[in-house]
């Protein structure tokens, strides 16, 4: 959904985010919704400025989100509050699951298919009966080995079996009712610490604001993702919105609040290891990806929109390798590196400490503040031969060899560190042209305000000129592995004496063009798999649909009385569409569910879908069109005119996920990897598939370890931007939050003898830090299962550089990973706390 669509919501829940402080621009639309009568709810462990502006604030213990959301799901199901027509037609609620499926409730806390030796799942029993469902996401495999190719074809042989009476014991409805049956308001209170009355007030508000006439939205940020069950927390929200009919409709949806910098952009045109641009899977050496033909065969879902996958892959290869991409060499497919394992930041940090990495480029990051277990990261840096850091001010990462914690504590001497560090000055945002893509998939162009001083250059300049030098260095190489460097198209126009590459030329290439005449491709529907089109990222197609027309530059808001979709404001991928799956804003016959909530509808006279947004559907596909199963239809022919979720293989919203998740088809509550609470629901204490990498210096605390009795969480501050450096080095912003602090409740402070602004020491098995206490009622003790559990919190944005200094909270954290994304857990761990200061070899406060 678009940010501004939030003002059309009748109920907005903010959870896993301090939206008012960390996304203040987005929050203005929540405030506007509230002004129009919406109920605003904040669910969070801390009382923040978001809580202060909300109509209802619900405190919950960090890491108990699924219990809270599961309680809402149960409330909806048991109270029969779900939006019947929408759900039965647009979701898989009535689908029947494979006979072998066993739920966590009946299987000792794990789903069927779990292998305790490997800690991973085989998803065969999660499938629709008689079907094998392809996943719609990249790098989705639970297993690293292929099944027999071709089993996805079952999706083109007929629709998945359903029981619309919802009586079948293995239909999704029955499975979900059993699965969430124990998430009662009493259990929610006992597990999360949120008073039962508050929980019920929130659940009631959500269901009241759903149906034909009303919609609700859920906003989240990394307060949800940075958990060992991060993906499943978001899944729980998806189930709620799926049951309430709050997807693809005005004011309905799940708002992923992305970072102020181009966080969304860095997953679209990814810095992620496992994806090619715009969510195409990176080839894997251990999959059936040896040739382009086999890669396309096993990765292309036969039904739904993703059946166009080959067009996007071949066009991408053509954009990258130009004339070197030919039918004879599989369009250059063999130039693309193949994965062997998880090469995300966390495992590669561990590999670095083992000496496997020779060097590292660090751009737009400051791992010694922003990465978890910073002492371990620092030890890894000492194993590198070289490190390149680009930033516009000295950062903790770049001078670790000089002023790092290990040097200060005496663990290492400078002369023991052989890493050669190249610190290069980078241009700031206003010193370069380009795009930023963040919340709502909105791509916005910005122009350079002034030239960067001295030798400072943009990241684009650096990467481009590094590429040119590498090409020159490898020009005479005959090694097969260097052919990719030879083949790369690397010919962006340069501007001015600094030879700054033209960022708009890069965006033109990402948009795509026809190879023969180099004309811009206007839309991704025009891409081909025959080498006649080139496209650097199919979802961005249309951003520069013709020469000289850069829609990311567009700044035309709708006027008063206009539709309010603001299609003239920048570009939102794909196709400048603001709300994904917006076919769901109309009923199965193609009529708006209500006048108040209309967005897209079928125009019978014009024989096409129309409305206030760009339809997310085949424009001319009639609502009464149905697949002809006798012809084994493929692609969009296999989806009826009443199937809005076109990226899924059967066009239905997946309340139950048969493929693609590594930790189960439904969210279930597990305790965080470290918790003072024993899981009251299941035998497994924590997510059995979460990535744990125990080693000296990266040990995890045992459940309820008395040495580490307190829940610890981390967060940002509105006054300090990103990892802190842009604002910690500026006196006027640094003075707003001059030093690090830990928030402690008055109750815990009294118990431990901690006074406001007094020193404290926080400890974990990974490290110890000292920091001053902020004794405040913003954090509070929780009553969990009848006993008091204290929680403390600390901003993670401090370090030893700049004017505003202090201990890095990430010293305390362990390197772990969510099973699906490998993202670290920063929001719920345990720690010890005492008044006083560090002694011995500990690293003291940065005075």
């Amino acid at each position: 959904m678009a940010l501004w669509d939030l003002e059309n919501s009748d109920c907005v829940i903010v959870m896993g985010s301090n939206m008012a402080e960390n996304h203040p621009i987005a929050f203005r639309f929540v405030v506007e919704a509230q002004r129009r009568g919406a109920t605003v709810i904040h669910v969070d462990p801390r009382f923040t400025r978001t809580s202060a502006l909300a109509d209802i604030y619900a405190p919950i213990r960090s890491g108990s989100d699924i219990a809270f959301l599961g309680g809402i799901i149960r409330y909806i199901l048991e109270g029969d509050h779900w939006f019947k027509e929408w759900v039965l037609n647009y979701t898989n609620l009535a689908h029947i699951i494979n006979e072998g499926y066993e739920d966590t409730e009946d299987n000792g806390g794990v789903f069927s298919g779990f292998d305790p030796d490997t800690g991973s799942y085989e998803e065969g029993t999660w499938q629709y009966a008689g079907k094998t469902v392809p996943s719609s996401i990249a790098e989705h495999r639970v297993q690293s080995q292929e099944r027999k190719a071709g089993d996805y074809q079952s999706m083109s042989e007929g629709p998945p079996p359903e029981d619309r009476t919802l009586q079948h014991p293995r239909c999704v409805y029955k499975i979900m009712r059993r699965h969430f049956s124990r998430y009662t308001p009493e259990m929610v209170e006992s597990l999360t610490g949120c008073p039962r009355e508050t929980f019920l007030k929130i659940a009631g508000a959500m269901v009241r604001n759903s149906g034909r006439e009303r919609t609700g939205a859920i906003c989240y940020a990394v307060g949800w993702t940075h958990h060992s069950v991060g993906v499943q927390i978001i899944r729980a929200a998806s189930i709620i919105q799926g049951l309430l009919g709050n997807i693809g409709r005005p004011g309905g949806g799940i708002m992923a609040l992305r970072g102020h910098v181009s966080i969304q952009g860095s997953t679209d045109i990814p810095t992620l290891y496992n994806m090619l641009p715009t969510y195409l899977p990176q080839p894997n050496a251990f999959h059936d990806h040896g040739t382009l033909k086999s890669y396309l065969k096993v990765e292309t879902p036969p039904t739904g929109w993703w059946s166009n996958f080959p067009k996007y892959v071949v066009s991408l290869l053509k954009a990258w390798y130009g004339t070197s991409a030919t039918p004879q060499n599989e369009w250059g497919y063999q130039f693309v590196p193949k994965l062997t394992g998880d090469a995300s930041q966390e495992p590669m940090t561990l590999a670095m400490t083992n000496g496997a990495l020779k060097g590292q480029f660090i751009l737009g990051q400051n791992p010694l503040v922003g990465a978890v277990n910073t002492d371990l990261v620092e030890r890894g840096f000492t194993k590198l031969d070289w490190m390149v850091v680009r930033d516009f001010a000295m950062v903790e990462t770049a001078n670790f060899w000089q002023r790092g914690r290990l040097v200060q504590s005496g663990e290492l001497r400078r002369d023991q560190i052989g890493t050669e560090v190249f610190f290069l000055p980078a241009a700031m945002a206003g010193e370069k042209d380009g795009t930023v893509t963040n919340t709502s998939r909105l791509v916005q162009w910005h122009d350079m305000v002034c030239e960067a001083p001295g030798d400072s250059r943009s990241d684009l300049w650096f990467i481009y000129h590094l590429g040119k030098r590498l090409r020159a260095l490898y020009a005479d190489s005959r090694e097969p592995r260097d052919r990719a460097i030879h083949a790369l198209t690397w010919d962006y126009p340069e501007r001015g004496p600094r030879k700054e590459p033209d960022p708009e030329a890069v965006l033109r290439e990402i948009n795509g063009y026809t190879v023969a005449d180099r004309k811009q491709v206007a839309k991704y529907q025009e891409l081909k798999d025959d080498g006649s089109t080139a496209c650097g990222g199919w979802m961005y197609c249309g951003i520069i649909p013709e020469a000289g027309r850069n829609l990311a530059r567009s700044r035309r808001p709708d006027g008063p009385g206009g539709p309010g979709s603001h299609l003239g404001w920048a570009f939102s991928w794909p196709s400048n569409r603001r709300t994904l799956y917006n076919r769901a804003s109309a009923d199965p016959e193609g009529r708006p569910w209500s006048e108040a909530k209309k967005m897209i509808w079928w125009d019978d006279a014009a024989e096409k879908w129309t409305g206030t947004d760009v339809p997310d559907f085949v424009e001319t596909k009639r609502p009464d069109e149905r697949p002809d199963w006798s012809k084994h239809p493929h692609g969009m022919d296999a989806l009826g005119g009443h199937a809005p979720f076109i990226m899924e293989a059967d066009g239905r919203c997946m309340l139950f996920v048969p493929s693609g998740l590594k930790d189960g088809p439904l969210p279930t509550h597990y305790e965080p990897l470290e918790s003072p609470v024993i899981n009251p629901l299941h035998g497994p204490q924590s997510n059995p598939t979460a990535k744990r990498w125990p080693r000296p210096g990266n040990e995890l605390h045992a459940p309820a370890d008395p040495r580490f009795p307190y829940v610890f969480t981390t967060y940002r501050l509105t006054e300090l931007h990103c990892g802190g450096i842009p604002t910690r080095v500026m006196p006027h912003t640094a003075e707003l939050q001059p030093e690090a602090f830990v928030e402690v409740s008055p109750e815990l402070a009294a118990e431990l003898g901690i006074r406001h602004l007094g020193w404290t020491v926080i400890s974990t098995l990974r490290g110890e830090i000292e920091v001053k206490a902020m004794v405040t009622q913003r954090v509070r003790p929780f009553v969990i299962d009848g006993r008091i559990v204290h929680q403390i919190g600390m901003p993670w944005v401090y370090g030893r550089e700049g004017y505003a200094r202090g201990a890095s909270a990430n010293v305390l954290l362990a390197i772990t990973g969510d099973a699906n994304t490998s993202i670290h857990s920063t929001k719920a761990l345990t720690c010890g706390l005492r008044p006083g200061r560090l002694h011995g070899s500990g690293v003291r406060h940065y005075d």
Partner: protein, 101 residues
């Protein structure tokens, strides 16, 4: 690291394949460290003698290291079959590098 990093690397690979660890990465860590040390030695040799053979050896060794990292940090199941093969490659490399027969 011992004076014969190749032998140490082989020994570490043997331990990985014998223990087949899934959660405990100690054996994999030891293998990675040994392979990295062996790689340092091969790089040193390459700098002294930039021959096709040594360059090829380095390429193969990096491939072995990639498979070991894929086993230590798998996407899904640990690729034991590939690790067995990688050990075979490593034996060949060590034979060339150290004359271990």
């Amino acid at each position: 690291m011992t004076e014969r990093p190749g032998a140490t690397a082989l020994e570490a690979m043997d331990k990985v394949l014998a223990a087949k660890p899934h959660q405990d990465g100690e054996a994999f860590s030891a293998a990675t460290k040994a392979l990295s040390a062996l790689r340092e030695e091969v790089i040193g040799r390459l700098r002294r003698d930039d021959s096709v053979e040594v360059r090829k050896m380095l390429g193969h060794l990096n491939a072995v290291l990639s498979v070991v990292l894929g086993g230590h940090y798998p996407l899904g199941q640990v690729p034991w079959g590939e690790l067995e093969k990688a050990k075979g490659w490593l034996e060949e490399i060590v034979r060339q590098a150290e004359g271990v027969g």
